[in-house]
Structure formats: C-alpha cells, structure tokens
C-alpha cells in the first residue's frame, strides 16, 4: 500500500468531524442563572429531540460521504476479495477456463452451491481480463466438451459463462484440461495458462495430483471448493414384477446408515419404505404391490450433500446392459483356467454390463433383443437363420464385435459371416511385426502403443472388397486392417483380424484389448441405448428421421451428425423419447464415481500466485463516485427537509 493510499484512507478518520460537530450541537444547553426558574415548567425538549433525529440521519450521510471520499482517494488500490489474473509485464494472456459442471458441484459451500461460486469466479476472472486477452471455456462434466473456442471477444466469453448450466454429469478433469490446453496452445500470447474452477471431485481421489507435470501452467482457483462431502445416491432402481432393485453408491467411508429408501408413485404415495443397509455400496430388493403403476420413484431420505442423486426413477424391466458372448468356452476355459478371457476382461472393466455367455448365435431375432451387443469370438460362420437374426439385431441398432480366427476361415458350406463380412476370409501366416500404433484412431488411440510388438503367427485376411467397406481403426505394421468397423443397417460391426484366444495371439493380454472392449461397449450403449444409461452419455438414433425427447426439465435438443441424430443428457431422471412415432422411456442415472465427493490432490504448482490471485486490485472509483453522488443528494434532501420542518415549527 503506497503512501498516497494510506494518506487517502487516513482521510476516513475525518469521519469523526461530523460526529464531534454533532456532539457539540447536541451537547447540553449551558446552564444559566435565572431567579424564578422554579416557575419554569420542564417542558419536553422537542427541539433537541428533533435535532437529534435529524442530526443522526445527517451525521450518517456525512460520515458516509467522508468514508466514500477516502475510498475514492485510495481507489483503484482498494483490494477486493475476488479472482483476478496476474500478468507478467502487463502482456496479454491466453486462458482456458475449465469449468466443472458435474453433479458434485451441486454440493454447497458457504451457503451456496459450488457451481454458483465457480460461475461467480469465472465472471470475476473475465472481469479482470483486458482487451487482447484470449479466453476459451471447457466444461469438465464427462465427457469434457468445448463451450467456447479461444477468442478475444470477452463479451462472447462472458455470455458463454453465463449460459453454463449445472448438470449431473460425472467429472472428466483430465480430459477437460487436455482439451483446454489444446485450445490455447497455439495462440500467439506468450503467457498461456489453464484455469480450473472445480471441486476436483472426479471420483479418483487417489489419482495423480492434478496439473502435475503439465507443460502449460495450470491454476486451480477457488481452493475453498475442495471440501470433502459425504454423499450417497441411487445409481439404479429397476423393477421386475413386484420387486424393485435399488442400488446405492456412497463415497469412500460413507454409508447410508440411518437413511431410508422409499418407493413412491406418481401421486406421491409411499408404497414401501425400508432402512438402507449400512454398507458403502448396498443393493436392496423392495417388494411393491403387483398392481403398482409404472411411474415409480425411489427416494433416499433424509437428504445429504447432493440432493439430485437421492431420487431415481424406477426403470421397468431393466437391468444392466447385457452383452452376449459367443466363443469357444471349453477351449478358452482350458487355456486360462477360469472364465474365458473376454468375460474376465469385461468383468475387470466394471462397465456395468451383464455378460451372458451363450453357446451359439441365436437363430431367432427375439432371442437377441435383451442384448445391446454381441461378441462373436471366431465363430465358424453363421447359418442362414443366424444371419437373419443377426440382421434383425443390426436393424434394431445392435453392435457386434467379431473376432476372426481359424474357425471363421474354415466355415462349413452354407455358412458365412454375412452381413458383417461378405467375402470369405482366410487364416494365414503373417510376417507383420505387430501393429502400427500410428494408425490407431478412436478408442484405440491412447493405448495403441501396446500393439507395437503384438505377437501373432497367423491372422485373418480379408478380401479387398470387404476392406474397402471398412473403417479401419488400427492396422498391422504391413497396412492390413487389425481392427475395423462398419455400419450395418442401424447397427455397427467391429472386426478384429485376430481371435481372442490366448494361444492364437497375445492381443487379449495387452491394454489395447481393454480399450477396444471399452470403446465397443460405449458404441453399443450409444446405439442401442438401454433403458437406463449413465447421465452425460450420448444417445444415437441411426436411421431415425424424427426424434423428440422430453427430459426432466423440458425438451432436450438433438443434433444431427450427418445422417445420424444424437442427443445427450445433462440431468438425471426420466426421459420420454419418441423415435419416428415410437415412444420409449429412458432413464439417466448418476455415475457411481461422481458420488464420491472427495477432492483429488492438486500439484503444488497449481496454486501459484503468479498465475492468479483471490484478491484483486479493482478500480471501483466510478462506483464509489456514483455512491458519493447519491450520498450528497440524500444529504441535501435531508437538509431541505430539516429546514422545512423548522419553518413549520416556527410557524406554529
């Protein structure tokens, strides 16, 4: 604080002047001798009382005026508690705001939600931005998404921040920071940084500290948001007949002990109420009347840190998404000593899918309906009945993962792999030295490095006509497709030119295989959309002409990606989806990991004051000057009023 500022603030001491003047004016009248004072009646000192009332108002306004003058003299050096950007040498900066709109931001801190505080912080940051600064905005609700590409239009940035709304999505901070970093990495500003406005509760509190090792400075502002909270929520409520399965998820060390689960109908009547088990991840079965209506709601009460996940619509006849796995069970069990490797991998991924091994591809289309995806591990071709059933499965948006191996190449007469592969395949030896990591795209991109030394003596070979129809996702080192996909009707087929058996290759032992399964299941969910899906996930409507969605708070917009209509959910709850006149009910459920409201650690470098500050030197002189003008106007009004009152008294 400079000497001038101190001097200006010292002017505030003059606030005592009107007070002293007020006291002098209001002091007791000087005593004077008066012989017949006993004849004087002690009348109410109305004049003094009047002056006391009026003087108080005048005193207040004059004292305020002096304080305002002092602050005006000290501005713009008055420091306010608000976020601001620090800039080295006054140069322009490029900032990427990572704004957490996930469900954990619904928890309150300081009497208001973390989301509201983060939004206020973003506005404060933008207020401290100057012309020439570039701003980008990324939302950290999973999946991370760009709200505003880098721009120097601060008005657009402010509008973008204002338009951000709270969602119930999970948190993807790493993805959001990576996106943000990419948005400002190529900007001309030398000073580039990522600003994170989040509670860092992304469900992975034990993960590496956020911002650690980042090439671009990351400033995690608003440390007050990083407060652990205890929360439990209903992640699944499925009804099967007269029973409702309620699955509850809680944060680490938190149980729903002392809370009740209630099943309520649309009119608010309680059908059943039971105490929740005192475990971190309890599952309950509650009996409801057999004639209970379809629109039931499961509620966990009393409330906790986040209310949004305490209520979940009950999904009728639903359950986890089912995956049918068709493979050589006997052979793989013998080789691994346990469940087939595919089933083990799916269990390890914990993707909330029900894996159902089936001995063979179903002949009837209705048998395929419970499944959202089908894994065919080296099938010995498909019979005509199976092809029709598979075709119907594709028509309904099903997704198939086909692993080609020696049995597929030796399909008996009359059996083929249509409509996935139209030409015969061959199983031949290969000299290719593993996969080509550089060719990997999509879900395989991140772990493609593990395919570098993929060991396989043989591989399936596709005919050029089939290769031409494929969208190759990863290639062998010689350019042949290793993983590819193609659209079939409303569904999609993923093709791997190696079987999943461990004696054929070590593909299933590599991280890329898990990434392949995860990506494929995501595609299956996206296309087939089970009745309950994780909030934030995208619904795709391939082949649909018209889609309308009514969500918990109103219509949900759809986007068209080429010929494909897509929609995403922001809030948990029940959605009524109308696809070409056919209405279905879907439920968006919270992600279990988002219920763990424990903040992730932050790297020490993310709190540096060189990046930003919680206290800003704000030029408030214009506001104070306006306030001073108002005070002086009030003071004049008071004096005028006082004068009129005195005149009226004198006239009386």
């Amino acid at each position: 604080m400079s000497f001038v500022t101190t001097l200006a603030l010292a002017v505030a001491l003059l606030v005592a002047v009107p007070y002293l003047a007020h006291r002098l004016r209001r002091r007791r009248a000087e005593e004077r001798a008066f012989a017949p004072s006993r004849l004087v009646a002690p009348s109410p000192p109305t004049a003094r009382r009047r002056s006391k009332l009026e003087d108080r108002a005048l005193f207040a306004t004059r004292a305020l005026a002096i304080v305002a003058l002092a602050v005006l003299g000290a501005s713009p050096l008055v420091r306010c508690s608000r976020l601001s950007l620090q800039r080295s040498g006054g140069a322009s900066v490029a900032i990427a705001l990572v704004f957490d709109d996930s469900m954990s931001m619904r928890a309150e801190v300081g009497g208001k939600s973390r989301f509201a505080r983060a939004q206020a912080g973003a506005r404060e940051l933008l207020a401290s931005a100057r012309e020439g600064d570039a701003v980008a905005v990324v939302l950290a609700g999973a999946p991370a998404r760009v709200v505003l590409a880098a721009t120097t239009d601060l008005g657009a940035a402010r509008a973008a921040v204002d338009a951000i709304e709270q969602t119930d999505r999970a948190t993807d901070l790493d993805g959001a920071i990576a996106l943000a970093r990419g948005l400002v990495a190529t900007l001309p500003q030398i000073d580039r940084r990522v600003v994170v406005l989040s509670d860092l509760a992304d469900g992975t509190p034990e993960a590496a500290p956020l911002g650690e090792g980042s090439a671009m400075p990351v400033w995690i502002a608003l440390p007050e948001l990083r407060v652990p909270a205890s929360d439990c929520g209903i992640v699944a409520a499925d009804r099967s007949g007269a029973r409702v399965r309620v699955e509850i998820a809680c944060g680490r060390g938190v149980t729903p002990n002392g809370r009740d689960v209630t099943i309520i109908d649309a009119k608010g009547a309680t059908l059943v109420k039971e105490a929740a088990p005192a475990t971190e991840h309890p599952e309950m079965w509650l009996a409801v009347p057999s004639d209970a209506p379809d629109d039931l709601v499961a509620r966990l009460s009393p409330g906790d840190a986040i209310a949004a996940d305490d209520v979940a619509p009950v999904v009728l006849e639903a359950g986890p998404a089912a995956i049918a796995v068709v493979g050589d069970t006997a052979g793989e069990t013998a080789a691994t000593g346990g469940a087939p490797i595919v089933e083990q991998a799916l269990a390890a991924l914990k993707l909330d899918v029900a894996v159902r091994p089936v001995p063979d591809v179903f002949d009837r289309a209705e048998d395929n309906r419970p499944f959202v995806g089908m894994i065919l591990d080296d099938p010995p071709g498909l019979t005509p009945e199976q092809r029709r059933a598979i075709g119907s499965f594709f028509e309904s948006g099903g997704v198939v993962l086909l692993a080609l191996g020696p049995r597929a190449a030796a399909a008996p007469l009359g059996a083929s792999l249509e409509p996935i592969v139209t030409r015969p395949i061959s199983w031949s030896a290969t000299n290719a030295k593993g996969g080509d990591p550089a060719s990997a795209i999509g879900a395989l991109a991140e772990s493609a490095q593990s395919l570098d030394d993929l060991g396989a003596k043989h591989r399936a070979k596709l005919e050029p006509e089939d290769i031409a129809a494929l969208d190759v996702m990863a290639k062998w080192s010689d350019g042949a497709p290793l993983v590819a996909r193609r659209s079939v009707a409303r569904g999609e087929a993923w093709i791997v030119t190696l079987p999943f058996a461990v004696d054929a290759s070590d593909l299933t032992l590599r991280p890329a295989f898990l990434a392949l399964l995860e990506g494929w299941i995501a595609a299956a969910r996206e296309r087939t959309a089970p009745r309950r899906s994780e909030v934030g996930g995208a619904w795709a409507f391939p082949g649909a002409q018209s889609v309308t969605i009514e969500g918990p708070t109103g219509p949900v917009a759809t986007t068209r990606d080429g010929a494909l209509l897509r929609a995403s959910t922001d809030l948990v709850g029940r959605y009524r989806v109308n696809v070409d006149g056919r209405t279905e009910v879907r439920v968006a459920a919270p992600a279990a990991r988002e219920i763990d409201v424990r903040p992730r650690a932050a790297a020490p470098t993310t709190g540096g004051s060189a990046l930003g500050d919680d206290h800003a030197a704000v030029d408030v002189s214009s506001s104070i000057a306006l306030l001073l003008l108002v005070i002086l106007t009030v003071e004049m009004g008071l004096r005028l009023w006082t004068g009129r009152a005195d005149t009226a008294v004198a006239a009386e």
Partner: protein, 304 residues
C-alpha cells in the same frame, strides 16, 4: 444575551449604571415632589390650628384662658403638627435579588436600593424618620434603626451600598420573621412600610406575614421588583436554568415553556396582590428597566 453565572452573582451586587447610589438617589428624590403628606391628626403641636368647644377630659393646659375670661366660653386651642409618619424600608437582599438580565441597568437589588434610598431621602426631607431592614443578605447586612436627620440618609446609603446578596429564604424559613418582628414592635400607628422584593423563592406563608404589616394603622406598600427577563422570558431554544437560591435546575424548551412561565408569574402577582390588598396594603410591580423616578412617585402616591 450575556450569560450570567449564578456563583458570580451571589458574591456582590451588580450596580451597573445605578452607581453611585448616593448621587443617583438624590437625583431620583429631587424628581419627586417632596413633603406631599401632612398630618391628619390634630393635637399638641407648634402651629395654631384653631379653637373648638371644650369637652370633658380635654387637657386643661390647652384651655384658652383669654376666651374664658372675655367671652366666658370654654374653648380649647388646637395646634396642627406634622405627624410622625416614619418610613420603614424593607429590602429583600436574598440571592435571587442579585439577578440582572441584559436589558436591565443593574441587578434587582441595586435597583431596589436606588428606590429605597430615594424614598428615604424624600421622607427624611419631610422630617420623618426612616429605618431600613433587610430580608436575607450576607452576614454583614445590618439594619438601620429609624431615625431622622441628614446623617440618616448617609447611614441608609452606606448600609445599602454595603449589602451583599445571599441566603436562601426557602431554606432559612425564619429570615422573614427575623426582619419583620423587630419592625412590627417598633413601627407605630401611621408608619409606612415599603417592602421591595422580587417575591421569588420566599418561604411559604411569607405573603401573609408581610401583608400583616398593614395592620394597626400602618401603611404597607409591597413593590415587586422584577428584571425584564423575568417578565417576558426572552430565552430561545433549549435552556438549562438554575435557581439562584437552592440547587433547583430546570431544562426546558424556552419557546414551549414561555407561555406557562408568564402565566405562573402572573399567578404569583395576583396571589400577592390579593393578599396584600385585602389587608389594606398596596401592591405594585416594577421592572428594573423602568424609570426609578416614576416608580418612586408611584410609591409616594400610593401612601398618600
């Protein structure tokens, strides 16, 4: 308006423009007609007043022997003489009489002393004895026994100039009696008693005891001496007033209290006037801002 502190007032008399008392009193007295009263009684005297028929019991020394011898008639010679109409001045010297407002030429006690001295000089010039007594006053206040002669005026003036206001008549309830009892004993029939007081802060019953002076053929004149401020209460705004006798303090809004004060003062005057008049006395009121000559003349007229 000049503020006057009570403590200072109690110490000495603020003579103002009324000093020196001796010269001022002479000037006032000369402005008043002197010797305006003559004896109403006939009897032993120095100037022949005529004859009247003898009635049994008459003093045979005044039997006119020449008339008896020439006309054989019993006539008694009568002589006119100026009666002994002594003037007794009673001046209130309590602390309240020390008050002087901004519009007065001097304190009430100073102005009362001027009037008293002027009355004394007039009376002495007529050959009447004049006495002086104080109600209250400092310990040094001394009464002047009734006497005549040129020196008596000097004694009167000396006593008046030496007086210092003091005493709380409300507390010292016998202050009236100490002054009036010797006066009652000494004042014979026809004595004129002039009481000069503000009549403020006197003890209960003072009205009756002072009015009783009008009995037994004495002539009583009560002159209420007030400062102009005490008449019209000219203060403004919030005032804090302390009585000059006792510790009474009143805080009030002057504008609001003025009317009630004037009413109270008027009620005081009426009470005194009623009581004094019923006993045969005369009640007068004067402001210290008034011309002393006119007031003295009014007093003289009142006793005729």
């Amino acid at each position: 308006m000049t503020l006057v502190r009570a403590a200072e007032i109690r110490k000495k008399v603020d003579w103002g423009s009324l000093a020196p008392l001796r010269l001022r009193a002479r000037a006032v007295a000369e402005g008043v007609y002197a010797g305006m009263h003559r004896s109403a009684r006939r009897g032993a005297g120095v100037e022949f007043g005529g004859y009247r028929e003898y009635t049994p019991g008459d003093d045979l020394r005044w039997l006119d022997r020449r008339s008896l011898m020439r006309h054989d008639r019993l006539l008694v010679r009568e002589f006119e003489t100026e009666t002994d109409r002594a003037l007794r001045l009673v001046v209130d010297a309590s602390a309240s009489m020390a008050y002087r407002g901004s519009r007065a030429p001097g304190a009430k006690l100073a102005w009362s002393a001027l009037v008293a001295a002027a009355l004394g000089r007039i009376s002495l010039a007529s050959g009447d004895p004049v006495g002086l007594a104080f109600v209250g006053g400092a310990a040094a206040a001394r009464a002047v026994p009734a006497s005549g002669g040129r020196e008596q005026f000097e004694r009167l003036v000396g006593a008046l100039e030496a007086i210092e206001p003091g005493g709380d008549a409300r507390v010292d309830r016998e202050v009236i009696d100490r002054t009036l009892e010797p006066l009652v004993r000494a004042a014979r029939r026809g004595t004129i008693v002039v009481v000069l007081s503000d009549l403020i802060d006197l003890p209960e019953g003072a009205e009756e005891r002072i009015a009783a002076l009008a009995s037994r053929g004495r002539v009583l004149v009560v002159l209420q001496v007030l400062d102009p401020d005490e008449v019209d209460f000219p203060f403004e705004g919030n005032v804090r007033l302390r009585a000059m006798e006792g510790e009474h303090v009143v805080e009030t809004d002057a504008d609001t209290a003025r009317a009630r004060y004037i009413d109270a003062m008027e009620a005081l005057r009426e009470r005194w006037s009623d009581i004094v008049t019923k006993r045969g006395g005369r009640f007068l009121r004067a402001k210290t801002s008034e011309d002393a000559v006119a007031v003295v003349r009014e007093v003289v007229e009142a006793v005729r």
